[in-house]
């Protein structure tokens, strides 16, 4: 008799537990930020779940280089998660146009973002916004402050000082002057061309002129970044042609290289890896006193899978992502991803503060190739990777590279024809 009671009791408790679980809705987030897995699991998701019982959130990232392909396949197959981390501009716009991303214009949290912050995730006419902006990344150079102090190098302000510093590091021989490789190609374009470029093409002015067809990629201000990149070759490590992105990161954090052309997303990784003091400086300008321009690239946002069966709960999560609370949490958990929320966010990390302080002194722009210009075939962004890597290796002259990019762009982009 007792066994039977026990059995019934066990059975009932199992059923009840099952029923209790069934009320919980689990939201899955698709992302390319696999580096951030622990931060989401330990900091961000618990904070949300504590306030919203009944909603469970799972962060399920895939490898950055494969993300777009994996996501598109999953969306087509109907197996994608409820929340989709949005790449800026056309990749997400295409998903919205295909009906894969839901329209989020009506979300109350959208009021917390400036039009510029939202521009990367809007239709061309700006009527519909389909992702909640999360963060932007800023480009610049991170340097080994101990190495600079040891060699007596001042932080370079102008291009001449920049190359003088590189020469000095090279002559000393203790450090590789600059940690970058061309094997993976994208660093050459993202941390090279689009990092130093805005100073030449004057940020937004040049970028918008290119979209309107008033400037071409063969104009001197668009060739000049390539000319500077070609000079970098002498300051990179031995065998940089086969040096990968993780190689460069390790060279720098192990203290073997003095300067690292960076994006601010490196900050949290570098903070844990590097055993020396670090500093950062914006891309050097041509002459002292020139206006500086920085690439402050709207990089990451969160959207809603239009086919999600849990749309209501997902919207609760998205409202929270748009709140100042999330902005503070995110910006401090991930120093280097700067909040796009209109409410100013207080950050603790000194390196992150250094990066974000350039917003006050310099003009912000986004990567030149991202909006509209990478809509056709050949793809300008992907071509720029290849061209920048070639220019650094010296297998293509700056002029030839610019000409090839322009010819490719003009082949499909009407304003450039």
């Amino acid at each position: 008799m007792t066994t039977r009671t026990l059995r019934i009791a066990l059975l009932t408790s199992t059923l009840l537990a099952g029923a209790a679980q069934a009320q919980d809705v689990t939201l899955t987030i698709e992302s390319w930020r696999n580096d951030d897995l622990t931060i989401w699991q330990d900091t961000i998701i618990p904070a949300f779940e504590a306030q919203n019982p009944g909603i469970k959130v799972v962060f399920a990232p895939s490898a950055p280089a494969e993300y777009n392909a994996v996501l598109n396949s999953k969306l087509d197959a109907g197996s994608a998660g409820d929340l989709i981390t949005c790449r800026p501009f056309d990749a997400s716009l295409e998903l919205y146009n295909k009906g894969k991303l839901a329209d989020l214009t009506a979300l109350a949290a959208m009021a917390n973002f400036s039009p510029v912050a939202k521009s990367a995730w809007q239709t061309d006419d700006g009527t519909a916004t389909f992702c909640v902006p999360m963060a932007s990344v800023i480009h610049g150079f991170i340097y080994n402050a101990d190495a600079f102090a040891q060699l007596g190098i001042e932080v370079p302000q102008t291009e001449a000082e920049f190359f003088a510093a590189l020469d000095k590091i090279k002559a000393d021989g203790t450090y590789i002057p600059m940690a970058m490789g061309t094997n993976d190609q994208w660093e050459a374009a993202t941390m090279g061309y689009n990092n130093i470029g805005p100073n030449y093409w004057k940020g937004e002015e040049g970028r918008l002129a290119l979209i309107k067809g008033e400037q071409t990629l063969t104009d001197p201000q668009w060739v000049a970044p390539f000319t500077q990149l070609a000079r970098w070759k002498d300051y990179l490590g031995d065998g940089f042609e086969a040096q990968t992105y993780p190689d460069s990161q390790n060279l720098f954090t192990l203290g073997r290289a003095a300067i690292y052309p960076a994006g601010s997303w490196e900050i949290s990784g570098f903070n844990t890896q590097a055993g020396f003091k670090m500093g950062a400086f914006p891309p050097p300008v041509a002459a002292a006193g020139d206006t500086c321009y920085i690439s402050d690239h709207t990089d990451i946002a969160l959207g809603l899978n239009a086919a999600s069966p849990n749309a209501d709960q997902a919207k609760v999560f998205l409202e929270w992502v748009g709140s100042p609370e999330f902005a503070t949490l995110y910006a401090n958990a991930l120093p280097g991803f700067f909040s796009l929320n209109s409410t100013p966010v207080e950050m603790a990390d000194p390196l992150a503060k250094e990066f974000v302080s350039w917003r006050d002194t310099c003009q912000s722009t986004i990567r030149s190739t991202y909006q509209i210009l990478s809509r056709g075939t050949p793809n300008l962004e992907n071509e720029t990777w290849n061209a920048s890597a070639n220019v650094i290796k010296g297998t293509e002259t700056p002029e030839a590279a610019a000409e090839r990019l322009q010819a490719g762009l003009a082949s499909w982009f009407a304003p450039q024809q």
Partner: protein, 306 residues
């Protein structure tokens, strides 16, 4: 007066499972791909029939055709390296292994075959590390023998990257021709070899005059397997150099070109229709190659009955 032969239903019944499975997972997708290549996306995001227009773009547009011929040329070189390095070495190893005087043959056989069962991801990553100019052991080992000057960041140089990766692939797969030839060599009857010895044909000349002709059909099979495998290759290049098949597309083969086009890459959105067009072209190339072998070579190979 016998009646008509009864219909032999059992043949159809026994064939049915294999035919159904093969049709569902091979033939239908193949024709699906061929069909997809005849359509294109309209600005309104619907599919429209465009006939052979995609093929005209692939072979007529200077950008598409440039990328295609570059990939095909690289693929041909990839295949040539395998034919010139992998298969002769495989035959040589098999000949050595089948020598009755070799001790520890089982150990060598296993050791040489093991890379074949490793994942591409491991092979690509390990070789990238070995050849890395920063952490790799290749520069150090060359330094020990005083040949440091010969070291170059091979995977990062347009001139060497493809050959280096082809040799990595050879390293990985040399076990397969070795095993097939080894099996063929073992199946040669001892009487034939003894008769050869009676006639005074021993050692090297026995290999060239007796064994090699007898294993030629196996060599033929290995060649065609290498051909199909190489023209379908993708994994190693993708793991080692990424979908952009750097440096400067010098390691781009048809597989990576197809992947980039079909699934898209970074800001480049995927284009299933052009992707299917490339897949169809690959299918055609492999079909032609296999047909040349089947009708031009295999029918002329002499077979010996023992």
């Amino acid at each position: 007066m016998s009646g008509r032969k009864p219909i032999r239903w059992h043949i159809a019944v026994f064939l049915a499972p294999a035919v159904l499975v093969y049709t569902a997972i091979m033939i239908v997708p193949l024709f699906g791909t061929l069909n997809l290549s005849l359509f294109n996306q309209t600005p309104e995001r619907t599919s429209e029939f465009v006939g052979l227009a995609n093929f005209r773009t692939l072979f007529g547009d200077p950008r598409w055709s440039g990328a295609f011929w570059n990939a095909l040329g690289n693929n041909a070189w990839f295949f040539v390296v395998h034919m010139l390095v992998q298969n002769p070495i495989g035959i040589l190893l098999a000949a050595l292994l089948s020598s009755p005087r070799l001790r520890m043959a089982a150990f060598y056989r296993t050791a040489i075959f093991i890379p074949t069962i490793l994942s591409f991801v491991i092979v690509g990553f390990v070789w990238k590390l070995i050849l890395s100019p920063i952490w790799g052991i290749a520069p150090g080992m060359l330094d020990v023998v005083g040949l440091k000057s010969l070291f170059a960041p091979w995977l990062g140089k347009e001139d060497y990257a493809l050959t280096a990766l082809a040799l990595v692939s050879v390293w990985q797969f040399v076990g397969i021709p070795m095993m097939l030839i080894y099996a063929a060599l073992l199946s040669i009857p001892d009487e034939v070899l003894e008769a050869a010895e009676m006639d005074g044909i021993t050692g090297m000349s026995q290999f060239w005059k007796i064994k090699l002709p007898l294993i030629l059909p196996s060599v033929g099979i290995i060649s065609i397997l290498t051909f199909v495998g190489n023209f379908n290759a993708f994994d190693l290049i993708y793991v080692a150099q990424g979908a952009l098949a750097g440096p400067d597309f010098s390691t781009d083969i048809l597989g990576t070109f197809l992947y980039r086009t079909f699934f898209g890459f970074q800001l480049q959105l995927g284009d299933p229709h052009m992707g299917a067009t490339i897949a169809t072209a690959m299918f055609g190339i492999i079909l032609i190659g296999v047909c040349i072998y089947l009708f031009g070579i295999q029918t002329r190979l002499r077979r010996y009955q023992f």
